[in-house]
């Protein structure tokens, strides 16, 4: 059991980032509705445990390429909430001074791989990063995350296959919320578990509860160890739910409200809180303290974003080439 190695500081960190992700997301959705944000936002409420529970395992030599709903990875790999938030507001203090969005930001120095707005398009790139890791002789891994719907794309297939043939240190992390925009999983695939797809490539496929941050941690830790030892890629499927519409503008009118509400009974934060309190790892007042700190970081970041300038127009045509 890898989770046994977690110490109280780790638990604090997990809870901190779970809470921060949730609180930031709620604020973003609220501010978006007030017309203050530029970036098209895809809420990760209810899905926070996946990025947080796996992202916390990534070290300095590791890379991550987050999906559009996987904000946690950014924070855990050192992107500041300030720059992320500035990105959402389209400010010059955001990623690449406003040229890229925050949810696809790339920063190789911090191990963050630029995503693609073309669903699935980042997977072959992540495999290339994995190839680079191997060529360097490093013990690093690259984690690329994506949704269940993304697994229908040809690029998913080509990337999975190539990573498996070359035994590259790539973790394919699927956030299975059983929805792709307005399509349900039955309209996406004729199988019930995405992890089955791993067999087609001769790589291990694991399904775990994506709303249990410790289950995410456990499954990811095993896959990382395997990859570091040269065992090659793993497909990790984390089951979860989408609480909101697809994007901030989506009224989600095509889903049964009662069903969506029921998802909220399986809240990754609540789930974790219960474990922390029951096992006495953290006390209620610890949680309060952590929450307050996280809220402050978020509020500061929003303030920073609001105060920041818009990009100066004279940078628009710079740095197309190096």
């Amino acid at each position: 059991m890898y989770v046994e190695k977690l110490n109280p500081k780790d638990y604090e960190k997990l809870y901190y980032y779970l809470y921060l992700t949730r609180y930031a997301d709620e604020l973003i959705c609220k501010n978006y509705k007030q017309g203050m944000l530029q970036e098209s936002h895809h809420s990760c409420q209810g899905e926070e445990a996946i990025a947080v529970g796996s992202g916390i395992l990534l070290g300095k030599d590791d890379y991550v390429c987050p999906s559009l709903r996987a904000r946690g990875y950014f924070y855990l790999k050192g992107a500041t909430l300030k720059e992320m938030m500035a990105g959402m507001y389209g400010k010059v203090t955001g990623p690449s001074r406003g040229k890229n969005t925050s949810h696809h930001m790339g920063d190789m120095d911090r191990g963050i791989v630029c995503g693609s707005g073309i669903i699935g398009g980042a997977l072959p790139v992540a495999v290339g990063v994995g190839l680079g890791i191997k060529k360097r002789g490093s013990k690093g891994v690259v984690l690329v995350s994506f949704g269940d719907g993304s697994t229908s794309r040809g690029d998913f297939h080509e990337a999975m296959n190539l990573a498996a043939v070359w035994k590259l240190p790539v973790l394919f992390v699927c956030e299975n919320n059983r929805m792709a925009m307005g399509n349900t999983i039955e309209g996406e695939m004729a199988i019930d578990r995405v992890a089955i797809r791993a067999d087609a490539y001769g790589m291990p496929g694991v399904t775990a509860n994506g709303n249990d941050v410790l289950a995410v941690y456990e499954a990811t830790a095993a896959a990382i160890e395997r990859a570091r030892k040269g065992g090659g890629p793993t497909l990790l499927e984390f089951t979860t739910h989408r609480w909101t519409g697809h994007g901030v503008k989506d009224a989600d009118a095509y889903r049964d409200r009662a069903v969506v509400e029921s998802y909220k009974q399986d809240c990754p934060l609540d789930n974790f809180r219960k474990v922390l309190l029951a096992k006495g790892i953290l006390k209620k007042r610890d949680l309060d303290r952590i929450e307050k700190a996280a809220m402050k970081e978020v509020d500061d970041a929003v303030e920073y974003a609001v105060q920041s300038d818009h990009p100066p127009v004279d940078i628009v045509a710079t740095n197309v080439y190096v």
Partner: protein, 325 residues
């Protein structure tokens, strides 16, 4: 006449064609319960059911390729890509299958396929959801490429596209969806391959298409106040290109500027300029100018994106530069 938005006009065209011809069906992502990413297909599932409004997995290559196969079987698919940028992943099916199928059967097989897709920037949707793609497929014989600029044309051209036995790429501009315009009450079509003079003038021809027609008309209004009488021509169809209508305008005004939203270099404006300098060489009084976006990917933040995009002022400036040359 009724007033419809481009969104409504396109939806009406699809609805009427679905009613008219049993072979017509819609295929794409989240068209049904979701109603399409830009709500173009809202309400159609309820009216026509899932066999006509077909939601696919997230597989653009399969969407286009499957549409080709269905068209070969005599059906008339209207396929949607959520964003024109995704044509990159349907490119092989479009270029190597759809565009060539008729020729490879020496004309014995029609290929009635419409591929709809919204393009363009101005909505801070970032570099992968804002591009203009028409020039990427302009060098592909076998395709027709249509870009409406208003509700009337959108409806009439889409109906023509659905009835066309050749593959038609139908490129919509996302900023047009909410633009309203007059549309005739009854049945009508707009022929594919005919450009249209949308504003008469004598000093210069502003040749444009899609969303930039609106900007060109705005520019013409500003220019009029400064005593410059610009003609505005809406290209409407890039392939086949209505060279005669364009050339006639330029032969009259003796000057021309081509305006599109894509970056200038390698954009469709090059083709139009090349054709026009040939067709109107002896009339031209100044080089043909081009206005388009900057030579960069589409930046995400509003400020940068607005600086990147062509706009009314840039058109005005270019026209003045040519007229006072």
């Amino acid at each position: 006449m009724t007033i419809l938005s481009v969104r409504q006009a396109i939806r009406e065209a699809m609805r009427e064609e679905l009613l008219r011809d049993d072979k017509v069906f819609l295929i794409g992502e989240s068209l049904g319960p979701y109603g399409g990413s830009f709500k173009l297909t809202e309400g159609l599932l309820a009216e026509f059911g899932p066999e006509k409004i077909m939601d696919t997995p997230l597989s653009e290559s399969a969407i286009v390729g499957c549409s080709v196969g269905a068209a070969m079987m005599g059906f008339r698919p209207i396929a949607e890509l959520m964003f024109a940028d995704f044509v990159t992943i349907g490119m092989d099916q479009l270029v190597n299958n759809a565009a060539k199928m008729i020729y490879l059967h020496d004309g014995a097989l029609p290929l009635p396929l419409v591929l709809r897709m919204p393009e363009g920037g101005g909505a801070t949707m970032g570099p992968h959801h804002s591009q203009c793609v028409e020039s990427w497929i302009l060098n592909i014989p076998g395709l027709k490429i249509v870009l409406p600029s208003n509700a009337h044309d959108a409806k009439g051209l889409l109906k023509s596209a659905v009835r066309d036995d050749n593959p038609v790429v139908f490129i919509e501009h996302k900023l047009l969806y909410n633009e309203k315009g007059e549309v005739p009450e009854g049945e009508y079509t707009v022929p594919i391959g005919k450009a249209k003079v949308v504003r008469e003038g004598k000093d210069i021809s502003i040749i444009s298409y899609s969303y930039m027609v609106k900007k060109s008309l705005e520019a013409a209004d500003i220019l009029a106040k400064e005593g410059i009488d610009a003609e505005v021509v809406d290209v409407r169809t890039l392939r086949p290109l209505d060279v005669e209508t364009l050339a006639e305008s330029v032969r009259k005004t003796e000057k021309a500027v081509i305006v599109h939203e894509a970056p200038v270099t390698g954009g469709a404006g090059g083709e139009i300029a090349a054709v026009l300098q040939e067709a109107a060489f002896d009339y031209l009084d100044a080089p043909i100018g081009r206005v388009g976006a900057l030579e960069t990917p589409v930046p995400y933040s509003y400020t940068l994106e607005q600086a990147y995009l062509p706009n009314t002022q840039k058109i005005v400036d270019k026209v003045k530069q040519l007229v006072t040359r």
